[in-house]
């Protein structure tokens, strides 16, 4: 399936990529992140990193479907 992956803040700076399209069999955001981390040196999932799928917060073990947009968030720090 084809997915769009977007990186934010520190993740964007670590990968040097804002968004990329990937063809993958990853069964979950967690799997997908590991695939991306293998490609992008330095990318690692920090404690309390979050993931959103199609603009909804999602679990790292949730299901993925063709065409999904997956957003990888490093630890947030609002306020």
């Amino acid at each position: 399936m084809n997915l769009t992956v977007r990186y934010f803040a520190a993740f964007r700076e670590l990968t040097g990529v804002e968004a990329e399209t990937v063809n993958t069999d990853a069964s979950s955001p967690s799997d997908l992140f590991n695939e991306c981390a293998a490609r992008h040196t330095g990318l690692q999932k920090f404690t309390s990193s979050m993931v959103a799928v199609n603009d909804e917060m999602a679990g790292w073990d949730s299901a993925l479907s063709d065409g999904d947009e997956v957003l990888f968030f490093p630890p947030v720090a609002g306020g």
């Binding site: 934010f8 803040a9 404690t47 490093p74 947030v76 609002g78 306020g79």
Partner: protein
């Protein structure tokens, strides 16, 4: 006007407060987050907020609704800045009005606590020594996790 907003401009506090006014309310509690001149021993010159706006706005509204439901307050609004901020700028403001003060304090605190850990907002601090760093969420530090420093060279 949306009760939760992301603003690229300086926050107009007087206009913000107007939206919370309610003749049935005897209590108003406001929290401001200010840009502080130091963090963990480093001298901070300015900072930058990156916000993923679609999700920050929807999640921000959820938090405000939760606060109204849980604490029974009349009104709750918040504005969070995005972009570059200077020292003493207001980074975030939360306002709550209610009949009595106890629930106004509790709701205001709930909103800012939740906002800090749930909203897709990231803060980059620019230091006097030329470095810049993405700051990690309060929850990590409070939970005593290893300090996760995401260093990046300042781009400006």
């Amino acid at each position: 006007m949306n009760p939760f907003e992301i603003s690229r401009q300086a926050i107009d506090l007087a206009a913000f407060r107007e939206r919370l006014l309610d003749r049935s309310c005897g209590a108003y509690v406001q929290f401001d987050g200010w840009v502080r001149d130091h963090n963990e021993g480093q001298q901070v010159l300015r900072l930058e907020y990156e916000v993923y706006e679609p999700l920050a706005v929807s999640e921000g509204q959820k938090i405000l609704e939760e606060a109204k439901q849980q604490f029974g307050v009349s009104r709750a609004c918040a504005i969070h800045r995005s972009g570059l901020l200077e020292l003493s700028d207001v980074a975030v403001v939360v306002g709550v009005s209610s009949a009595h003060r106890g629930e106004a304090f509790d709701a205001c605190r709930y909103i800012i606590d939740q906002a800090k850990i749930r909203l897709p907002i990231w803060k980059k601090e620019y230091y006097a020594n030329g470095n810049a760093e993405w700051v990690n969420c309060q929850r990590c530090s409070e939970a005593g996790h290893d300090h996760e420093v995401l260093t990046a060279r300042a781009r400006r």
